[in-house]
């Protein structure tokens, strides 16, 4: 027994090290002068300390503008996906309309198309509609790519909410829509919030579409923006600043998501299901 426990801890420690070491290394590199982080063999503990990389980020790129753009795009796309996705999932799971099965299969097929194949047609279209460098050029594709899977996940979850609850709501005098937002949606919050967070992260991190459709400096999103950090000369690649930038936009996001998840799930699932 003791040995088992010991081995378990050893295993967990190795896994934790494997996952966390790169992050540690990032933090280390971001606070050291470039000369130190380039040393070979690499020094794995802090030897010098500087804020210059962080200051450099703000001097080099309009970081706050990028954050603003990413926030607008990600929040809008997530909101639309959750709104449309949850209503569609509700219809499939509880209303059982004619053709709901073909509809779900159709959605699955949509999900198979690789997003990369859309880039050029979309570019043409957005160019024609004068939507390049417009938030919509990212919000629209992000939403349509995410909705199919979102509907699948939420429909599966909603199906597990007893149908009697929906029926009781209807008999109690609620319209379909009232039954959705008063009964099914609150009970589906754990799934809805998970889907929302995953969507938000996916939009926040998306690179290729953002790079292609947002060509003006002031419309760039954060992922593209950081990749654009450049040194004084073309051969110089300022790793320290890039890393500092990545940390600056990632760490707050992770913290916010952790807090949000905790709040949402603990607050709203108290007393849900198990009736």
């Amino acid at each position: 027994m003791r040995l088992k426990r010991f081995l378990l801890y050893v295993g967990v420690t190795i896994m934790a090290f494997y996952c966390l070491f790169p992050i540690y290394f990032l933090v280390l590199d971001s606070i050291e002068p470039t000369s130190v982080s380039y040393s070979s063999p690499p020094i794995l503990y802090p030897v010098a300390f500087t804020f210059s990389n962080y200051i450099g980020v703000f001097e080099n790129i309009p970081l706050l503008t990028y954050i603003k753009n990413s926030t607008i795009v990600s929040l809008s796309a997530t909101a639309i996906v959750v709104l449309i996705g949850s209503m569609a999932a509700f219809a499939v799971a509880k209303i059982k309309f004619r053709g709901s099965n073909p509809f779900m299969n159709f959605l699955l097929i949509l999900g198979f198309f690789p997003a990369a194949t859309m880039i050029f047609p979309l570019y043409e279209m957005f160019a024609n509609f004068h939507l390049l460098n417009n938030y919509l050029s990212l919000i629209l594709p992000y939403t349509s790519v995410s909705i199919p899977l979102t509907v699948w996940i939420l429909a599966t979850y909603f199906e597990q909410i007893p149908t009697a609850l929906y029926e009781a709501a209807r008999v109690d005098g609620m319209s379909r829509f009232q039954a959705f937002y008063k009964i099914i949606l609150p009970l589906g919050i754990p799934a809805v919030s998970t889907v929302a967070i995953l969507n938000f992260i996916a939009c926040w991190n998306e690179f290729i579409l953002a790079l292609t459709f947002m060509t003006k400096e002031n419309m760039r999103t954060i992922t593209v923006g950081i990749s654009m950090i450049s040194g004084r000369f073309s051969y110089q690649y300022p790793w320290g600043e890039i890393i500092a930038g990545a940390l600056l936009v990632t760490v707050p996001l992770v913290i916010i998501i952790f807090i949000a998840q905790e709040k949402i799930i603990s607050g709203l699932t108290a007393g849900a299901i198990k009736g």
Partner: protein, 355 residues
């Protein structure tokens, strides 16, 4: 309160399943009507048709002489208690009871008084802040009933509301429910597979089997004058004794010759099934002889199984005697049958026999 009528209603699921087959019945104002039958007989489907949760395949459902087929559940103004209670898990007891009023835009203060008085009536005033998962089965059931009673709907529908309670609570709630729905003068339709519940609570019973209504009548009528063997066997605990008489000789062992003659005229092959309720067999006098094979004490009474010979074949009947009688398994006994209470079945249907 309000009336309900079913006119030639059919409900089909797919090609083969007919869950409700030509249902015709009428529920009068303030009546407590029970849909009774074994599981799968179509009673719950019938209830769902009334609520609008399922749509009829054919026929008309009327409330107060108005056809409601096309109305959605929320437009029918019907209150329903589900077998699973279907309490909203994320709302507390107050909100659960209040929600039918809130969606009807009743003012906050009115909702509060109304929910308060219903909670008091059901004895759950102290539970209003709790969530459903913090309640016992009996308490949940009261909340479900409260949610139905809180408004004044056209109809109350109850789908096996006692099925999930333990035996003691079930018996207590039976009486309470009957009194409750009578006191609000509600037209109530109650679904159960428990014939005792149906007999104890109903003004009228609709017995169903395989989607077909077998009989509609007052509990006493259903019990004493079942239209066919299915109803006779399904209603009554312990079950009615069914004895098959193959010819006049068999019959004459059981009852008087005038009845035998009358029966012979009705049958073609001399075969008839005879139904005898256990309470209509009198032990200790009479000229039918047999042996006690089993004694089941049922409190005040003993249920005694007696084996007797009907010519060449052995048959068994069950009968009641008081628990003060000294009797043991293996005893030789004699008994007689109350002839006036006998039921006769030809091809599963009950026939009236003179004489």
């Amino acid at each position: 309160m309000h009336r309900l009528e079913f006119k030639k209603v059919y409900k089909r699921f797919g090609e083969k399943v007919i869950a409700v087959n030509n249902a015709n019945f009428f529920v009068d104002e303030g009546e407590f009507v029970t849909l009774l039958g074994p599981s799968g007989c179509g009673k719950t489907t019938t209830l769902r048709l009334i609520a609008g949760l399922d749509r009829t395949s054919e026929g008309e459902i009327l409330i107060n002489d108005k056809i409601i087929n096309a109305l959605s559940p929320s437009e029918r103004d019907i209150a329903m208690v589900f077998q699973s209670y279907a309490l909203y898990p994320h709302m507390n007891v107050f909100e659960n009871i209040a929600i039918p009023l809130q969606v009807r835009k009743m003012s906050k203060s009115d909702v509060k008084t109304r929910v308060g008085s219903i909670a008091q009536m059901l004895g759950i005033s102290t539970l209003l802040d709790r969530k459903p998962r913090e309640l016992s089965g009996g308490q949940r059931q009261r909340v479900a009933i409260g949610r139905a009673l809180v408004r004044e709907p056209n109809l109350f529908l109850l789908d096996e509301p006692l099925a999930n309670l333990d035996a003691i609570l079930r018996h207590r709630m039976r009486g309470e429910l009957k009194a409750l729905f009578h006191s609000v003068d509600g037209t109530t339709i109650y679904v159960t597979h428990d014939q005792e519940e149906a007999l104890a609570m109903s003004d009228k019973i609709v017995v169903m089997n395989y989607g077909v209504i077998q009989q509609i009548g007052a509990p006493e009528e259903i019990y004493k004058r079942p239209v066919n063997k299915f109803v006779a066997v399904f209603v009554g605990n312990p079950q009615i004794n069914i004895i098959e008489a193959k010819n006049a000789e068999d019959m004459s062992k059981l009852f008087s010759s005038s009845k035998v003659n009358a029966l012979e005229k009705l049958t073609h092959d001399g075969k008839v099934e005879i139904g005898i309720r256990p309470e209509n067999i009198v032990l200790g006098k009479g000229n039918i002889f047999g042996k006690v094979t089993l004694i089941e004490p049922m409190g005040a009474n003993l249920l005694v199984s007696v084996e007797t010979a009907l010519n060449s074949e052995k048959i068994k009947v069950k009968l009641f005697i008081s628990n003060t009688v000294k009797i043991s398994e293996g005893d030789d006994v004699n008994f007689s049958i109350k002839e006036s209470e006998l039921l006769f079945f030809l091809n599963e249907k009950r026939v009236d026999v003179e004489g």
